[in-house]
Symmetry: C2
Subunit: 250 residues, 2 copies
């Protein structure tokens, strides 16, 4: 039309997004509620389809809404797992391998799948930390209540774990840390590096993450009392499913 677009204000799609966001944050639209769809926004605001779409894309990329094809756009819901850094790794927990994850999920049911144990040539930081490029890697995926929440890849020096149950699918009672202890390499100290970034497409697919969901990346290194690094564990967590907690003294 000939209506002057009146710029210098915030663009239309942003103002539509702002109004919808306000309704979500104020609670007027609650968890799982349906947002007005593309057609509804076209009618309500008299804009083209692409503009309505752009407004919804803002909320989707902010992680506030999730689109479902053929159905609609819905307010996102959160149910974080509390992952307690230091406490979960205290020695007492090793008695039973499941204890660590039971601690995290507070009893909610979880599963492990896509477990693959392979021997590999390590590169870059892993080789540097472990002091060798000959490593065994244990990769797996954790799901809670049927939803995948974490990918993990634990690296171990081949010289230490070769020929032990750590290279088998089933590591036995107490898990890897119990086996390392029996080998005289019990972890005594840990360092965790925490980052956040957007997932790559393959990561988003494995974790079934909707758009607008960051990844929490944790690189954990386990050291023996002698200061030898015996494990490099890279974990990728769906940030919508996790809260990390760290306790320490002054």
């Amino acid at each position: 039309m000939t209506e002057s677009p009146v710029h210098h204000e915030s663009p239309i799609y942003r103002r539509i997004a702002d109004r919808l966001r306000e309704q979500i944050l104020s609670g007027a639209l609650g968890d799982g509620d349906r947002l007005p769809g593309e057609n509804a926004l076209m009618n309500e605001y008299g804009v083209a389809r692409a503009t309505a779409r752009q407004a919804l894309a803002v909320l989707i990329n902010e992680g506030l809404a999730v689109p479902r094809r053929g159905s609609g756009v819905y307010v996102r819901l959160f149910r974080p797992i509390r992952r307690h850094g230091p406490r979960r790794l205290s020695r007492e927990q090793w008695g039973d391998g499941r204890a660590i994850w039971d601690h995290d999920t507070m009893g909610r049911p979880y599963t492990v799948d896509e477990l693959r144990v392979t021997r590999e040539k390590a590169g870059g930081r892993v080789a540097e930390v472990l002091g060798t490029d000959e490593v065994w890697v244990r990769r797996r995926r954790y799901s809670v209540e049927g939803r995948p929440v974490q990918l993990a890849a634990s690296h171990y020096p081949a010289a230490i774990v070769g020929g032990t149950p750590i290279t088998e699918a089933d590591t036995g009672p107490g898990g890897v840390y119990a086996r390392l202890g029996e080998l005289g390499h019990a972890p005594a100290r840990f360092t965790e590096e925490v980052r956040a970034r957007m997932p790559l497409p393959n990561e988003a697919k494995l974790l079934e993450m909707p758009a607008g969901t960051p990844l929490i990346v944790i690189d954990r290194i386990a050291y023996t009392a002698a200061g030898v690094a015996v494990e490099y564990n890279e974990m990728l967590l769906d940030s919508a499913s996790y809260v990390l907690q760290y306790d320490f003294d002054a």
Copy 2:
């Protein structure tokens, strides 16, 4: 034209994005390099402007590229600050208030601005943890090398800090923790909760964050030896500028 679109494969804009991503991750396009722009992609792939744009939007939302109006789209660069959880808060650091941040930035120059100290009615979790809704709040923004990297809001019970330098802009040598110590409320234990999410528009603006950059949210509570919560500090970190490190024993 009449060329059949051949669906059931991944859409055009995704395949364009995949090719560009590959060049970025492989290093063929390095930090700060210019990507082919909208016009270039239109010519190269014979697609409409909106499709080329959509391909670039994928990379931008993944945090791999940054658009600059009037100039082009560029490969994103990273220069993280290492923020060391426990060590930076050890008592020895309090002797000089600047020490904590010097530790984080490893000597890189930083500034604090937008400092506001206000008395407020606390709500929700803050009031619950501090055991009162009468609080003083110290809000400020940290920048490193001229780029804003963190917003922080520290909450203190008014009954403890009222009338002390903690309610002034300048808290004196050693900072807030030194003053709390003099008041008989020296922090002895800390807990930090770490989350990641996409920033809201006002948060993204204050931190000058480009699209596709998650926020790291840290809620830190300081407890005295007697177990009294004396500080609730909510920090919002630009995830492109930070790596968190936590050390602990088994």
